[in-house]
Every structure is written in C-alpha cells, then in structure tokens.
C-alpha cells in the first residue's frame, strides 16, 4: 500500500480536534486538524504506553496524550522534552477541502 488514499473532508475533523482512521490489520491513525486548518496524521499510539493520541487536547503544533500528558509534536511525531520517543507520521495532502493520506 504505497499511495495517496482519500479519507474524508476537512469539515469532518473538528477544529483543534481529531478523528480516528481505522485500517484493517494495522494500527489506527489519528488525523488532527489545528487552528490553521493544517492536517496531520500520526499513528494513534503514544510512544509512552500506547495511549490513543486522537483523544488528546490539540494545540497549534502538538497533542497532549490523554493518559499521562506527554506532548507529541504533530509534524514529527516526536515527544517534547523531557520525554523521549516518537510515533510514525504520514504525509497528508489537502485538495479542495478533501484529505488524502500517503501510506
């Protein structure tokens, strides 16, 4: 699976919110929308203890994991200091309000 896949429209994700994208046989993706209508895709598993990042509070450039409050950068999937860890991130394209993820 190595191509762009249409997922949903921008409106389907709340501003400063997220949706879960389910994939068969693979971990879920968390799809985030920030205040500037940028969209980011991370694997929905916190590097700490696999908390569902899609359920966290979303800020301009990060999401706070709902389980123990790690901050994960939306762009890179990197945990903010002092925590160390990283989750896979996927390229996202927005075309006339439609969202595509590159797997």
């Amino acid at each position: 699976m190595n191509d762009w896949k249409h997922i949903c429209s921008l409106e389907d994700i709340p501003v400063l919110g997220a949706r879960i994208v389910r994939r068969s046989g693979l971990p879920d993706i968390a799809l985030f929308r920030n205040g500037k209508n940028q969209v980011f895709a991370l694997e929905d598993q916190c590097p700490h203890k696999k908390g569902p990042l899609s359920q966290g509070i979303v800020t301009a450039d990060a999401v706070t994991c709902p389980l123990h409050g790690w901050k994960i950068r939306l762009e890179s999937g990197q945990a903010a200091e002092p925590d160390v860890g990283c989750v896979p991130h996927y390229p996202v394209r927005i075309e006339t309000g439609e969202i595509f993820i590159h797997f």
Partner: protein
C-alpha cells in the same frame, strides 16, 4: 521614582535595516538571566553583545561554596557555556572590562580603548566585596570571596598553607570557612559581634550553630575587632592583629564583611546612583535607554544580594526590552539558606522584626532546633529556622502572598503538616533521603536524578524541575518534597513558585484571577476572544490553559458563553472515563446511592449487550461498567437512558456523588432523613461544572456512616437539624472537613450548600479542590458570605440555580445530535 511614566517608551532607533543593538555589561547571573528571558519573548529583536571582565562564560556564583568545599567542580557550575551564546547569536567578550559609557554618542568604551555603539544598554555589574580599610588589606594572601579567581586562589592556598582566618561570621564567611576546613586548613572565624550571624539569629540559636560548626573543626573568635594585617618575611600575610593587641597566625585571610553595589561605571558615566544604580519599576535608570539589573541596582531604596529577587528583576527588564510592557518589579521577599552540608539554617523576609512586629519563638537547644517567626498586622513578615527547615517553602509562600495568618496562629510554628495540608508537602526530610529514594511515585523519579538535573541544568524553580524531570508533575503530592530538595541543593537561590502572581501557564503572563476578572468585566464569551483580548502568546493555547478558560467562560456567563468541547479533557468530551487501553468506563447516576430493580435490569442488559468485561461497585455508591468501546458509547447510553438512567459525571470537573447512609428512613439511630436530603441535593446540583470535582455526603447521625468528614461538603444529621462541614478531601492527602455552620432543615441546608458551592465556582482557580480554595481564602471570609450575610447567601444560591437551569443529561444530547455523535465514529482508510 517608582514608575515608568518619566521614561520614553519609543522603540530603539538604529541605522535602517539593522536590528537595534543591545549591549550588556557584566556577564553574571542577573544579566544573563535577563537575556534568557528576552530570548524567550523576542528571540530576534536585538543584535546582542556581552562584555564581562571575568575570563569565564556565565556561571552559578552561589555554587562557589560547594566548589570550595570540594563537592563540585568549576565545570559543574557553568550555567551558559560558550555554545549557548553562539547558538543565540550573541557576541561574547570575556576578559573585557568596560571603563566608560558615552551616553551622548551612545557607545561604550573598553579598557583597551575600543568603542562599541548601542541602542539599548543593560548594566549588570553585580557588586564588589567590601575590604576593611585597615593596614595590610592589600597584602598577598588577603582575599575576598566573590568569583572563580578568588575560589581558585583559596584552593591553591589550602594546598601550601595551614592557617586560614576568615573575617566575618555571616553566611558567606561561614561557607568560606567550612570550605577551607574541608580543604584541610586550620580555620578561625573572626567576628566583631558577640555572636554569629547576629542579623539572623538570636544568641541562643547562634550558639547552636557555632557548636555544630565547631564540631566540624572550625574555631571562633567573637567580639574581636581586627585592626591590622601583618606581613611575614616573604611579604605574605602572616598575622592578624586585634584591637586588644592580641594576634593570631594567618597565611590566608578571607574578608567577608559585606558587599557594595558595583556602581563605579554607572557613576563615572553620570547615571544617578544612591547606594546602587537607581532604577524604576521597569528596571530603567535615569537614562531610559539604559537598564540595570542585579546586585548593582537600587530599587525603591533596596539593593538585593540574593539571586531570587534578581531573577524577578531580570524577567521585568526582559519584558520591557521586548516591548511587552506589562511587567513591573515591585520588590521581593528574600530568603537564604546556609550551604554547609549537615547544617540546616534558613532565613527569609524581615527576620529582624521592628516596630509593631510580634515574634513567636521556639527554642529547643537540647534538640538542636530554633525557630523564630516575625508577624506584623496578622501577616508573616519573616522567619528564621535552625535545625528543622522543613517548612521553609511554606513560610516563604505565606510571606509572598501576604496572607492573613490569624486563623492558624496557634499552629503556625508547627508547620503545614500540622495544619493538615492539602497534598502539597513532602512528609520526609529531603536532606535525609538517599539518592535512590523514590520521590515522585507517579513518574518514578528518585532524589538523585532530581539533584542531578538541578545542578547540571541550573534549575531554580519547581516548574523547571517539573519540566526537566517530570517529578511533581502528576498528582502533586510530592511537591513539598521536591521544593525541599531544590532548596537544599541550591540554597537561598531557590525561587518558590510565585503564588498569587503565577501565570496560568507558559502561554500567557496573566494569572487565573486576572483572566477571570477580565472575562467578567469585558463580557468575553469565547476562548478566541479571551486569547486575543488578553494577548495570548501561543495562538491556540495549551492543554493547561484551554480547559481553565473554558471553565471560566461557562461559569461566568452561563447560557451565554460558548462551551468548547475541544478544550475539554477527553473524559468530559466523551462523557466517560478513558481507560489505560483506550476503552471507556460508564457510570450511571444513582441518586444518593439509591437504585431500583428497573435500573439494575437496564445495567445488566447493557452489560450483556455490549459485552462489558467488568462491572464494579465504586467507592461512590454506584455501578461502574468498565471496558466499553468508544463507538458503542452512544448506543449504550441510549439504552440506559430509556430506563431513566443519566450520566453520573464520574469523569468530570463537576458534581460527582452524594453519598448517603440509610438514615432516619430505616436506621434505629437515625435522627434525620439522610437519603431524602442526599437525593434532593444531588438533583439540585445535577449538571454543575466546577473548578474541580465535587463530592458530597449526608449522614443521618453523628456515627457518620456516609463519611461526611472527608467530603467537599459533608452533612451530619443531629437531633436539632444538620451540621454542615466543608472542604474535606479523601484523596491524595486526607484532610478532615471543617465545620461551617448548623442548619435547621433541608431547605436551609440546600441554600447554604448551594451558596458555598457557587462561591467556590466563582472564586476558586481551575483545578483547586474546595480544600485548596478554602485554605487560600480562609474559612472565616467564606462563612461571612455564605452563612452570616443572608442576602448574599440567597443571591449566590440563585446564581447557582440560574446556571443549572435546564441542565440536560449529556448522554441524550449526544445521542440526539448527529454532529456530536460523529466524534465517536472512526473513519475508514
């Protein structure tokens, strides 16, 4: 001069296209801290050049004592290495003294004759040790104790010489003496006064201190006035001579008799000085282009000699240099600690007392403990502690907050633990802990890693320790202990969190109280409005400030302000508790802990239908269905709602449970109908959002089977009516509720409880439980408003009822509204 009004605020001018040039003179702790704060606010605003006459980059001067004592090396105490200056585009000239400021041409002159132009100038020249004006004070072997050069010279002397004499029995002198002794010298401390540290200690305490230092091998000569230092054959100092004619041998003399603000440069350049460079509340000198911070400064007539206040000055100066313009420096409460391992001595504020002050003193010479508290107008003004410094952080906080302490006068001396603190005091003595002792149970951080982070990263505040180590960043019960570790590691440089003036989070400079007031006064109705009106630094805030703002908005303007689900923690968005595996738990409300066969059947049916793995009776007298999939939540709620079950808000900063006992309805001892009142209260409060969770209990008689004594509001039935208790807590730290008042009947209880909780909703900071709020406000003030002033009580109660009018079961709301339901459904890839 205590305002900025006389100073121009116009931005600096510089040749067009170039950044304005900021020059800093004095590469020490206060100056560099100002630059750090400035870089945080406006990283690209200035072209920065720094001149320091020491050969080193910025280091932690206060840790020179552990260096002298051989507990640390110079390398350990560097705060900003050369890379740091480089990374931030700062040009650093070490070993370079500035000799003049040409204010007309706006340039500084170096000792080697170079001139460098500036648009803004920052003076941070620190202070100079005072040398007694006696013959021989310039002999080889006579030193002061101020910088790395002095420290190295002392270490060097300790290798080749035997007799050290330290003149001055204050903090610094004692630290020098202790260090030299540890380096193997025979040390005598000479002090002109009859007892040590006469400014901090009374004679009894000073004797305790002296004894413990004598046990470490130091000798003391008290009440001795030094008149001359005599040279030996080699020309080096060899003897100290006193007024009474006697002498003692000395091949090293360290003078530690005080410091003077280093104003020479400022004075010769025509800046107004008066025992320090005189500055305004915005840290500007009489020349508005020139700022000054640190020990060289005189602010409102005070020159500070400890780092904590200097860091506060740094913050304000940076604010102003960044043209943020909101900060003001209004003076500080200072504190300090003797950094001699094994000796616990701490002092803060005005510990000398004076007109109209009272003193509370505890003196236990045999037990090695002395404590003195200085009070003025029912407020704590100063404190000195010897032997047991556990409560130092608490005392500093009380002083900073200017809190009225009359309520606990009797307990003050015994510290916060004695008061029944609310989860913010360590219960062990920090210095006695081993390095591998676990301090933060939530994040598994031990003492050793905290100390390491503090020294290696140069941390000064609790927030910094939280950020770097995670200790105390979760449940907070180890906060007191972490504060103690900070205090004992860096001594008086420890900056207790700013209490009253603490901003909500890093996204803003504003405090909880300011935000709340502004939302009310300006009738702000949404988070973006607040952020833009109050100039939030981060465009969308963070997970700390957004939930707080959301709560302040909806509690201040019920039915008007816009609730923002994305600014709520997931539990409040999903109306269920998130579990470690990402599933949820569902807790239906059981009013007053009562239930019916229909409800139980509905729960049983739902549990089967949605394959709920665990059913549990909670500690709150109701049933928890644990392990539900998120996408099943709306359907399950819909099923439960059909049998009349509603959300129990087990997840919210909101009304949780009202526990009851069987009461006079059934019990042979019951004096009041506790189940009935419990259900009425729970119904009255249904849908109430609050700063933190709120738990109630109603017991039918003083046997108190509903555990009313540890609830936010606890009610106990007595023959003549009810007793109401408030601000108990059964959580992280157990705190027994305090008696508020008696009430005659159910209606009166409901009004008083409603008023109390409304006042809590209107006044407490977000995430304060009632216990924290009452501790901060004082029960008497609250009693006045909700018990004595009947008019106000009624109004508060009415405001609560208005806010809760039409409160709906959130489950049904979501089931009904397709756009809300969407959040529960995954997308497919």
């Amino acid at each position: 001069m205590d305002g900025a009004s006389s100073f121009s605020q116009s931005p600096p001018h510089s040749p067009s296209g170039m950044k304005p040039r900021l020059i800093m003179v004095g590469n020490g702790m206060a100056g560099v801290r100002t630059l750090e704060e400035l870089l945080k606010l406006a990283p690209d605003k200035y072209e920065i050049t720094v001149f320091g006459d020491e050969p080193h980059p910025n280091y932690n001067r206060i840790l020179l004592s552990p260096v002298l004592a051989g507990e640390m090396s110079i390398k350990d105490i560097i705060l900003n290495d050369r890379d740091w200056y480089h990374t931030h585009g700062i040009t650093l000239h070490t070993d370079t003294r500035i000799t003049r400021i040409d204010r007309t041409r706006r340039q500084v002159l170096t000792a080697s004759g170079e001139t460098i132009p500036y648009d803004r100038l920052l003076l941070a020249t620190g202070s100079r040790p005072f040398m007694l004006p006696i013959p021989g004070n310039d002999l080889p072997g006579v030193l002061s104790y101020r910088d790395i050069a002095d420290t190295n010279a002392m270490i060097e002397a300790s290798r080749t010489h035997r007799h050290a004499v330290v003149i001055g029995g204050g903090l610094l002198g004692l630290e020098a003496a202790n260090g030299l002794r540890l380096r193997g010298m025979e040390v005598t401390v000479v002090h002109v006064m009859p007892w040590l540290m006469e400014r901090q200690l009374d004679p009894a305490a000073a004797v305790l201190l002296q004894k413990s230092l004598e046990a470490k091998g130091l000798s003391f000569l008290l009440g001795k006035e030094t008149t001359e230092l005599l040279a030996g054959k080699s020309g080096r100092v060899s003897e100290v001579k006193f007024k009474d004619g006697s002498t003692i041998p000395a091949d090293l003399v360290v003078m530690s008799v005080g410091i003077r603000p280093n104003t020479q440069l400022a004075e010769t350049s025509g800046l107004f000085c008066n025992r320090g460079i005189v500055v305004s509340d915005t840290m500007q000198t009489y020349d508005p282009r020139i700022y000054a911070v640190g020990e060289c400064v005189s602010h409102r007539g005070v020159a500070y000699g400890l780092v904590a206040p200097l860091f506060e000055q740094a913050k304000v100066a940076a604010n102003h240099l960044a043209e943020f313009g909101i900060g003001r420096y209004t003076g500080s409460v200072t504190s300090t600690k003797l950094k001699v391992t094994g000796v616990d001595l701490f002092s803060a504020g005005n510990f000398m007392g004076g007109d109209n002050t009272e003193e509370i003193v505890l003196s236990d010479p045999a037990g090695g403990v002395y404590k003195k508290l200085v009070l003025k107008n029912e407020k704590l003004e100063g404190a000195v502690m010897y032997g047991d410094t556990t409560d130092s952080a608490w005392y500093i906080q009380l002083m900073r907050d200017g809190k009225n302490v009359s309520e606990w006068r009797n307990h003050l001396m015994f510290g916060q633990n004695h008061l029944g603190d609310s989860g913010h005091t360590g219960n062990a003595n920090a210095s006695a802990l081993a390095d591998n002792a676990e301090v933060c149970g939530c994040n598994g951080v031990c003492k050793g890693s905290i100390v390491k982070a503090i020294t290696e990263k140069g941390l000064f505040t609790l927030e910094e320790v939280r950020k770097h180590t995670k200790a105390s960043s979760s449940c907070g019960s180890c906060t007191g202990l972490v504060e103690q570790i900070l205090a004992s590691t860096i001594g008086g440089a420890y900056q207790p969190s700013e209490g009253k003036n603490k901003p909500i989070c890093g996204c803003t400079e504003h405090t909880h109280e300011e935000v709340r007031r502004t939302i009310r006064d300006k009738h702000l109705l949404s988070i973006p409005e607040v952020m833009s009106y109050m100039e939030w630094k981060m465009p969308n805030g963070c997970a700390t400030c957004r939930p707080a703002l959301n709560y302040y908005l909806i509690s201040t303007w019920p039915h008007e302000a816009k609730d923002d689900p994305q600014s709520r923690f997931i539990n409040e968005r999903a109306h269920a508790n998130i579990q470690k595996d990402g599933s949820y738990s569902v807790v239906p409300r059981m009013w007053g802990g009562l239930t019916t066969p229909t409800e139980l059947r509905a729960i049983a049916d739902a549990a089967e239908k949605y394959a709920v793995p665990t059913l549990k009776i909670t500690g709150g007298q109701r049933i928890d269905l644990l392990g539900v999939k998120k996408e099943d939540l709306p359907r399950m709620w819909s099923d439960l709602s059909r049998s009349g079950l509603v959300s129990g808000h087990a997840y919210g900063k909101s009304l949780r449970t009202v526990k009851t006992c069987v009461g006079a309805e059934h019990c042979r001892f019951g004096t009041q109908r506790s189940m009935g009142l419990g259900v009425k209260l729970e119904k009255m409060l249904f849908g109430m959002w609050s700063p933190h969770k709120v738990k109630l209990a109603v017991s039918g008689c003083p046997r108190n089977c509903a555990e009313s004594g540890i609830k936010d509001v606890g009610i106990i039935g007595v023959d003549s009516g009810y007793e109401i208790y408030v601000a108990g807590n059964g959580g992280i730290k157990t705190v027994v509720a305090q008696f508020l008042c008696k009430a005659a009947d159910d209606a009166e209880v409901m009004e008083i409880v409603g008023a109390f909780l409304q006042l809590y909703r209107e006044e407490a900071r977000y995430l304060d439980r009632t216990v924290h709020w009452v501790e901060r406000t004082g029960l008497d003030t609250i009693k006045q408003k909700v018990v004595e002033d009947k008019e106000q009580r009624k109004k508060l109660h009415e405001r609560l009822l208005y806010a809760l009018q039409g409160a709906e079961n959130p489950w049904e709301e979501i089931v009904r509204d397709p756009s809300m339901k969407q959040a529960f459904e995954p997308l497919e890839a």
